[in-house]
Symmetry: C2
Subunit: 132 residues, 2 copies
């Protein structure tokens, strides 16, 4: 598997499609067994469980790529969300309210798969959309 | 001015160096007159004032590039900070405490200069470093 910018773009968009279609059995094609998340070793199984839990809490979750920068071995993306978390989200009592927010995330690829993720979600934007 | 990946990398690192050396009179070499910040039209003058105000509040502010992805016309960076804000920072009473945090930011270049910035700072990380 080559890690050219074009290959990374294809792999990353495949990863996003895998999430959006909840094709969990295919996640290992895109995510390394030893994936790290925000500096912590997480591993594919736990990473998958966390993504599944997000879809359980947010049934209309959809990852939309707003900006994508592919520069081997790194990918950085700005992701946009417009969704309706059921309960608590990011520690906020969102409870069925539809909210818009962004995530700025960067990824390190290793042999065609995501080996590390650094993610920041705009929690303040969500907070601003809740009653004060 | 070309916007190749290498040119963007050079321009971006020049921008970071301009900030770190507080070479404010040179900021216009790197930032477009009509720069937008997190979707809002800000303009170079106001953008410069905001960066200057940050250095006033954080005398030991230093931008360290932890990850850089250059994919014309976009640049995405993970920036690391280890600094001592004097007063309130991100609405938090940091007051002279040394804190570490990251920023995930992406940039759109236009004719060699930064025309748009989308920035997210890890406010929760700062919060975790304060007394509860």
């Amino acid at each position: 598997v080559t890690d050219s910018a074009a290959a990374l773009r294809t792999a990353f968009l495949g990863y996003i499609d895998c999430l959006n279609t909840q094709a969990w059995q295919r996640l290992g094609e895109f995510v390394d067994d030893e994936v790290r998340y925000n500096g912590r070793p997480v591993g594919l199984r736990s990473y998958r469980e966390q993504r599944q839990a997000e879809f359980e809490n947010i049934p209309d979750l959809h990852f939309a790529v707003d900006l994508l920068a592919c520069d081997p071995p790194h990918v950085a993306a700005r992701l946009k969300f417009d969704c309706t978390p059921r309960g608590t989200f990011l520690g906020l009592p969102v409870g069925g309210r539809r909210v818009q927010f962004t995530e700025n995330a960067s990824y390190a690829f290793h042999q065609g798969r995501i080996a590390a993720v650094w993610s920041l979600i705009d929690r303040e934007a969500v907070k601003r959309q809740l009653p004060q």
